[in-house]
């Protein structure tokens, strides 16, 4: 496979987290061009490239940027750029490596984005468990400031941009963009009602753009190579490369950058090294724990892009957290595990999610332990349906979709359990 390593190209370069080394790899070399462009040109370029948000929702990045009201309609309000580095979707760990290995690429991306958005203050919101990475980012920021790449009048362009790291403290929900904003503002990390959307009224009630680490790290490449070059990679609607975090039962778990659109089976065989010897595939969660699970048949039909996964498997590419489960997996146990996660991480703000996640988890514990009946499975399904799309944010759906998909696609395994037979017994 021949494709440019847009995101991982520097990862094997020793000390590339130091600005001197990073510069030898071309980092910050796109800045003069970007700072010479009109902000609207940069946004148009990103729009044309078809780059989609890599945090999970897959929303076109340039379109999102375009939602920020023009200066004359902002009433003097600032624009904020927030990098979502809260990476906490189970099965996802790509941003951790990106920030650790190549922090300057992210900073360069953010400087360019700030120019496009007429933004002068940004934050990297990083999860609390990554404090050691936050320190590395702080060092990188200090280097960038010292080199005149941040702060006032960057490279004589007249553009100024201040960038700080804000460290979270253990709350999955803060990866949701409005919860991230609440948390940054010094509130409990609870999502806000939409509308208003953050691009219009976000942090401190000002227009705010929240982008994932990986998304922002693509931007310098787009400046250098143009939209057409990006569109030439991947598929028509899912252009570019994407980082996949692979975990579970494969021979080579890890982070892989591949062009979108390669066949999923090929990805498992070639990148992931295939399954462990003697095992067969049972299920795959393709985009982080929140997306619907896929069966082996669906895996065989899908390629690694947004459209294929949604059309052929009713699931989502999400964050690219690719969790592989082989035939040794007890799927009842697996789903119970996930619901414990959602019950623990529900922010507790709105009714269905607050009360429903814990309830679903308790029922699943009974299913797992052989204390449930068929009616409990029906209740479980009902609860998931009653949570999905009835909540303030997408968390409700995130907790509901695993339940709905596991119960539908692997129904017999659950039925076996409620009839008193364990997964291994049959």
């Amino acid at each position: 496979m021949d494709f440019p390593r847009i995101l991982t190209g520097n990862w094997e370069v020793p000390d590339v987290h130091r600005i001197a080394v990073a510069r030898t790899r071309g980092t910050y070399s796109r800045l003069p061009k970007a700072l010479g462009m009109a902000p609207s040109e940069i946004t148009a370029l990103v729009k044309d490239s078809g780059l989609r948000g890599r945090g999970g929702a897959g929303f076109p990045t340039g379109v999102k940027w375009g939602f920020v009201p023009p200066a004359e309609k902002r009433g003097g309000k600032a624009v904020y750029l927030l990098c979502n580095a809260d990476e906490s979707e189970p099965g996802t760990f790509k941003d951790r490596y990106l920030m650790w290995c190549d922090p300057h690429l992210l900073i360069e991306g953010m400087i360019i984005a700030s120019r496009a958005l007429d933004c002068h203050l940004g934050y990297i919101y990083i999860r609390g468990e990554f404090r050691y990475i936050a320190r590395r980012l702080d060092e990188a920021l200090a280097e960038a400031y010292a080199a005149g790449l941040l702060g006032k009048n960057i490279q004589g362009s007249g553009h100024h941009f201040d960038l700080y790291v804000h460290v979270g403290a253990g709350a999955y929900i803060c990866g949701e963009e409005t919860a991230l904003i609440s948390s940054l503002e010094g509130e409990r990390g609870q999502p806000k009602l939409k509308p208003p959307f953050p691009a219009v009224e976000g942090a401190w009630r000002s227009p705010t753009i929240v982008n994932n680490v990986e998304t922002l790290a693509v931007v310098p490449w787009l400046i250098e190579n143009g939209a057409a070059a990006y569109k030439a990679i991947g598929t028509e609607k899912s252009p570019g490369t994407k980082l996949f975090s692979v975990s579970g039962h494969v021979r080579r778990p890890g982070v892989y950058e591949v062009p979108l659109g390669i066949p999923m089976t090929q990805f498992i065989e070639e990148q992931c090294g295939g399954l462990l010897p003697g095992r067969t595939l049972k299920a795959v969660i393709p985009g982080g724990s929140s997306v619907p699970v896929m069966t082996p048949d669906e895996v065989a039909k899908c390629s690694m892009d947004y459209e294929s996964i949604s059309q052929n498997a009713g699931s989502y590419l999400g964050s690219g957290g690719f969790i592989v489960m082989d035939d040794t997996t007890d799927l009842v146990e697996a789903l119970t595990n996930l619901l414990r996660f959602y019950a623990h991480e529900s922010c507790g703000q709105c009714t269905p999610c607050r009360e429903g996640c814990g309830w679903m988890y308790q029922i699943l514990c009974r299913v797992r332990d052989g204390d449930a009946n068929v009616q409990d499975l029906a209740t479980l399904r009902d609860l998931a349906d009653n949570i999905h799309s009835k909540t303030i944010c997408f968390f409700g759906a995130s907790a509901a979709m695993p339940v709905q998909s596991f119960l539908t696609k692997f129904r017999s395994e659950f039925l076996d359990r409620v009839q008193g037979r364990g997964a291994g017994a049959a």
């Binding site: 623990h344 529900s346 009714t351 009653n386």
Partner: protein, 516 residues
């Protein structure tokens, strides 16, 4: 104004009207817990979900976060909406304790009400409930039971947005989210009672009212708080002649949905031991006190004075003026400003005015109309033999100094009743129809909730009786007629009557000079 559609009803409402309010105007009730008209929108209970009908199909959305704009159409009566309400009820109740029989909220609990209207499912909650802290004493007026809470955050928003005290907060997260105070602190503000009012369930209850009476026995009458010049609108809750509590009555122009704790406590004055229940003359009960007073007024001749009452209603003051004019043409009027001896002199920028009299503006209005009303100094200098005092505790207000013989029309014992040689009992506001003018110049109506205690009569009726004894009655036996004659005579009240005043009152017309 934009036209919006709720189910099949189309109505015009001001742009930006919250759709829960718009639906109310269209006669459609949208159930809700967290929405409150005088707090910011939180959108967390999800009970108000309805279908927003768009050209691309209908979408489930919460009504409280929708503002009226041209063409907005919602449906609240679809199967989908009904199913959502039922499931929200199920979620809210799955961890709710089954303690309705011992819960003081029973009868005015939205969990109970909405369960009957929108729930009615077969319980499938088999899991153990989450337990939280119960029976917490968090303030002088409030008890908190966190297990009963539905996490609607109304109380949190009240503390942030109304009192600015930020005391109650949701702690923890997930289904362990729990409302509480910072350990070791208590509510310190004077609006605590409102927390019990806005709490839609039994989490925050009023210490004063707890276990006093089941609410379904209570009747509610629209009254006014007469504790200060603000004139907060209240509901007087009573049963069999006994008043159990005051609740705020919504008036967006006066008190929104709130009242202060000192005002709320004033319900205790209705049946208090301080009430004057019998007439007395020279310290002894007397069944012919009015006749005796008439005799003494006649004996005083030109040397009789009348003190208008800032605590008395417009009708009572009008009766006093008419009585004096009809029977003592030489009589002089006075007005003693200040607060009574038993006034709780707290004030703030919210509702508690430093002026603890309900009708100072009304007295001012009538004084302007009468002309030449003497102030405190004039009263001290006047050569009088007898002073007729209407409700105000002028002895405390004057704080010493010689006074002539006093005749006092009052509802409770105080320094003036102690000094007066003639005392005539009058009603507490809960026992009469009357109007008052608040600090904004808003004429507001107070309705009679209970029967007068003892021999008390509304002051206007008592003065009517006195006038009869003197030979010329002021014609103020009935409040409706009294107000009408008042409104005909006083230009700034022109056009007003009880019906026009309605439940929220009317502002006085500007003074004639300004009107032009």
């Amino acid at each position: 104004m934009p036209k919006v559609k709720i189910n099949d009803t189309e109505i015009e409402v001001p742009a930006g009207t919250n759709m829960i309010e718009a639906a109310k105007l269209a006669g459609v009730e949208i159930p809700h817990y967290c929405y409150h008209p005088h707090l910011s929108v939180a959108g967390n209970c999800r009970m108000c979900m309805c279908e927003s009908v768009t050209p691309r199909g209908s979408v489930l959305e919460i009504a409280c976060n929708m503002q009226a704009r041209e063409g907005l159409a919602i449906r609240t009566d679809t199967d989908q909406v009904k199913a959502v309400r039922k499931s929200v009820m199920e979620f809210l109740l799955v961890n709710h304790p089954l303690d309705c029989p011992i819960c003081d909220q029973s009868g005015e609990c939205r969990l109970q009400d909405y369960y009957m209207d929108h729930g009615q499912y077969d319980s499938r909650g088999l899991e153990p409930k989450v337990s939280k802290h119960k029976r917490q004493d968090i303030g002088d007026h409030i008890v908190l039971d966190a297990e009963r809470c539905v996490q609607c955050s109304r109380c949190e928003r009240f503390g942030d947005e109304v009192t600015g005290t930020g005391d109650l907060r949701l702690m923890n997260r997930g289904d362990h989210t729990e409302i509480g105070m910072f350990p070791g602190t208590r509510l310190e503000h004077d609006y605590q009672g409102n927390l019990a009012d806005i709490c839609p369930v039994g989490a925050l209850t009023s210490k004063d009212f707890r276990f006093e009476r089941r609410v379904w026995y209570l009747r509610e009458t629209a009254g006014l708080c007469t504790g200060c010049a603000t004139g907060c609108n209240i509901q007087v809750c009573h049963q069999d002649g006994e008043v159990f509590r005051y609740l705020p009555r919504r008036n967006d122009d006066v008190n929104k949905s709130w009242i202060c704790d000192p005002g709320r406590d004033l319900h205790k004055r209705v049946g208090s031991l301080e009430r004057i229940l019998r007439a007395r003359v020279d310290g002894s009960p007397c069944t012919t006190a009015q006749a005796e007073l008439a005799t003494r007024i006649r004996a005083a001749g030109n040397r009789v004075g009348f003190v208008l009452g800032t605590q008395a209603s417009l009708e009572a003051n009008w009766a006093l003026i008419q009585l004096a004019r009809g029977n003592c043409p030489e009589a002089r009027f006075f007005w003693v400003s200040g607060n009574d001896g038993d006034a709780i002199e707290k004030s703030d920028h919210l509702l508690m005015d430093i002026d603890k009299n309900a009708n100072t503006a009304g007295v001012q209005l009538l004084a302007e109309w009468v002309g030449n009303v003497g102030d405190t100094d004039a009263l001290r200098e006047a050569d009088l033999a007898l002073l007729i005092v209407l409700e105000d505790d002028i002895v405390s207000r004057l704080n010493g100094g010689a006074l002539p013989e006093l005749a006092y029309f009052g509802s409770r014992e105080n320094a003036t009743s102690a000094q007066a040689s003639l005392v005539i009992p009058v009603t507490h506001p809960a026992e009469m129809d009357a109007t008052y003018v608040n600090r904004q110049g808003r004429v507001q109506r107070n309705r009679r909730a209970t029967n007068p205690l003892g021999e008390a009569a509304p002051a206007y009726a008592a003065l009517e009786k006195l006038g009869t004894a003197l030979g010329k009655a002021p014609g103020t036996g009935l409040p409706v007629a009294t107000f009408l004659s008042l409104a005909r005579a006083v230009p700034r009240l022109a056009g007003l009557d009880y019906k026009v005043l309605g439940n929220t009152g009317r502002l006085l017309a500007p003074p004639v000079a300004e009107a032009k």
